[in-house]
Assembly symmetry: C2
Homo-oligomer: 343 residues x 2
C-alpha cells in the first residue's frame, strides 16, 4: 500500500494513503526508500511554518530512492536508477540567481516545505534536483547525503585546510557531519556540546569533545593552540552563548562560519572581529558540487555515517520520532522507511 | 624652538619643550612636518587610555616629515629624505606574527599610544616603520597617508571590484577616504552620515550621501539595486543602528567590512548572515603594501585629499582642536604644524 505522513498542525502527524502525482514534463516520480528527519522538520512540527506549508502537508527532504517513472523530456535517468534529491527550486530570475547564487535564490522554493516532501511512497520532483547514487551505496546510508552535503558546503566555504585546528559548537547531526568532513580534510576537529549522549557519541567517533558547561572551552582551545586560538569556528548551536564564544575562540585572521539558524538576534563582539581581523561567513544549504562531494564521500565508506543513525522506523513511527527528537534525549538521526521494499 | 604637545590627563594638553631622543642603532630621528589628529587621539583625550599611556605623553601618529639624523645600521635613508611612519611595532614572536599577520600582532605596540608619538618637533622611531615619500608630494598632504592607508587596507580586504555598489556607513575622515578609494577602483560609493557638515562635504566631493535619519537607507539601496542589495557595506559608524543595518543592506553573498571600533557589543542578525550567505570581515590598521598604495595614490593627485583638511594649526592649537573635534561640529581633519620650517 502506498502511504504518506501528513503534518496536520497542532504537533500532529497522520499516516494516510499516498496520492501519487504523475510526472509532468521535466519531472520524475521516485519510489522513496528512506527519509531522514531534520531540525527544520521539528521546527515545522512546532508550528513555526504553519503559514508556509499547506496542510495536510507531506514533509521530508533528506531522502534516497529509485526512479519509478520519468516524465517527458527528461534525459539521463531511467526507472530503477538510484537517486537522491537536492531539494531546492530557485526562481532563476532574481538578482541572486542571476549572480550565480541560485542555491540562495531570493525566492527559493525549498521542496519539503514550499512543495510536498519525501515522507511518502511515491514522490514527484523536478528532474533538475536529481543526483545519481552509485549502486555500491546502500539506500539507507544514502538518506544522509543531504545533511552531509550541508557539511561539505560549510567546510568548503570555510576553506578548511590540512593541519588546521577547528572548533565545532554543537554536536547534533550537522555538527558531527561537519567534524567528519573536517577530519577527512586532515584538520583537527574539536566538538563543543552539552548533551551527554551526543558528547559520548562524538567521543566514540574519535573526536575530542568538550562540554562547555563543565570545561572552560576558550581556555581549553587557547591552551591547545599556545594562545593562538582556533583557525576555524563553526557555530552550529544557535545559542546566545555560542554567539558569544565564536569571537573568543578564533585566532587572529581566524574564520567563523555561521551554520545555525538563529531564532533570536544575538550580541556579537564586533570589536573583537575588528581587533583580530576575524571573518565571519554565513553558509546555507548547498550547491550541486557539494552533493557530488557528499555522494563520493558516502560511497567511499571512509566516514562512519551508519553510526549517526539512531533508528530506522516505518512511516507510522514519524509522530513518535518527532516527539523523541523534541525531548532532546538519546537520539541522533532517525530515518523513516517510506516503501515496503527498500534497498 | 623645539616643542611638543603633552597629554596630561583630565582632557588637558600642554605645549612644552621637546626632549629630542638621539637615534639608537636601527632608529631614525625625524623632523616632523605635519601631524593629523585622529579619532583614537580623541578617545585617549577622553581618558579611555589613561592606564595605557605614560603621562605626560606625546601622542600623534598621522605624520609627515624629513629625516634629521640616522642611527647606526640604518641603510637606505639619509638626512633630508621625506618620510612617513607606519606606526606599528610588532613583537615578531606571537602566533599572529609567526603566521605573517604582524600588523595585528597579539602584543602590538602602537607608536603614538604605547610609545611617544609625533606631535613634537623631533621624533625618534625604529627605521622599520619608515616609508619614503616622493618629493612631488607636499608634506602637508602627506600627513593624510596614514589614514589613507587604513582606507586602502579596508578596500583591499573587501575585494572591491569595478562596477560594484558600495555603502559606507559613517562619513568621517576614514569613511570619506574609503569612499574615495572605492570610487578610484571604479565602484559606486554611497555614504550614510548624520552630521550635516560631513554630508555636505561628501556631496561636494561628488558622492551620493544619505542621512539615514531622514531617508530610509535600506529602501534607498534596495531601490537603487533592484532589490539585490549592496555588494559591499563598510561599517565605520560604530553605532548600534549601524550594526543593525549592515545585514539589511548587503546582497546575497555580499561582504560587510567592520572598520569601526565598537565601544559596546551590538546585536548582529546572524540569521540574515546565514540566510543570505553574507560575509563579515574585520579590518584593522594596515600592512606595508597599503602604505605604498596610499603614497602612490596621494602622490598621483587623483584624490582630492586637500578637501578633507579643515584647518592647519600650530602645536599650541592642539587642545582647542581636540575640543572642536569633540563637539562634532563643522570639522573633518585637523592637521598640526610641528616644526617651524615645514615642507
Amino acid at each position: 500500500m502506498l502511504k504518506a505522513a501528513y503534518y496536520e498542525g497542532n504537533q500532529s502527524v497522520r499516516v494516510g494513503a499516498c496520492a501519487p502525482v504523475p510526472p509532468a514534463p521535466g519531472q520524475v516520480q521516485i519510489e522513496v526508500s528512506h527519509c531522514g528527519i531534520c531540525g527544520s522538520d521539528l521546527h515545522m512540527f512546532h508550528g513555526a511554518m504553519d503559514q508556509r506549508v499547506h496542510m495536510p502537508f507531506v514533509f521530508g527532504h533528506e531522502m534516497s530512492g529509485a526512479i519509478a517513472r520519468v516524465g517527458e523530456g527528461v534525459n539521463g535517468f531511467s526507472p530503477g536508477d538510484h537517486v537522491t534529491v537536492r531539494p531546492i527550486d530557485p526562481c532563476g530570475e532574481c538578482p541572486a540567481c542571476r549572480a550565480g547564487h541560485s542555491h540562495v535564490c531570493q525566492r527559493l522554493k525549498f521542496i519539503g516545505f514550499d512543495a510536498p516532501g519525501a515522507l511518502q511512497s511515491l514522490w514527484t520532483v523536478p528532474a533538475h534536483t536529481l543526483h545519481r547514487l552509485p549502486a555500491s551505496l546502500p539506500l539507507e546510508k544514502a538518506a544522509l547525503v543531504e545533511p552531509l552535503s550541508v557539511a561539505c558546503h560549510d567546510v568548503r566555504l570555510a576553506g578548511v585546510r590540512k593541519g588546521e585546528y577547528v572548533v565545532i559548537q554543537g554536536g547534533g547531526p550537522i555538527g558531527i557531519l561537519i567534524a567528519l568532513v573536517v577530519r577527512n580534510t586532515g584538520a583537527r576537529a574539536v566538538i563543543s556540546e552539552v548533551n551527554p549522549f551526543r558528547l559520548s557519541l562524538a567521543r566514540e567517533l574519535g573526536f575530542e569533545a568538550v562540554n562547555p558547561k563543565e570545561t572552560d572551552l576558550v581556555k581549553h582551545v587557547m591552551d591547545a593552540t599556545r594562545t593562538a586560538g582556533a583557525d576555524v569556528v563553526f557555530e552550529v548551536s544557535g545559542s546566545a552563548a555560542g554567539a558569544e564564544t565564536i569571537t573568543q575562540l578564533a585566532r587572529v585572521r581566524g574564520r567563523i562560519v555561521v551554520v545555525a539558524i538563529f531564532s533570536h538576534v544575538p550580541k556579537v563582539d564586533l570589536f573583537r572581529i575588528f581587533w583580530r581581523e576575524l571573518s565571519l561567513q554565513g553558509t546555507r544549504v548547498y550547491e550541486p558540487e557539494d552533493f557530488e562531494q557528499a555522494i563520493a564521500l558516502a560511497a567511499s565508506g571512509t566516514l562512519p555515517l551508519e553510526r549517526l543513525i539512531s533508528e530506522v522506523c516505518p512511516l507510522e513511527g514519524v509522530q513518535s520520532a518527532l516527539n523523541r527528537l523534541e525531548s532532546g534525549g538519546e537520539v541522533m538521526k532517525i530515518l523513516v522507511r517510506c516503501s515496503e521494499d527498500e534497498g
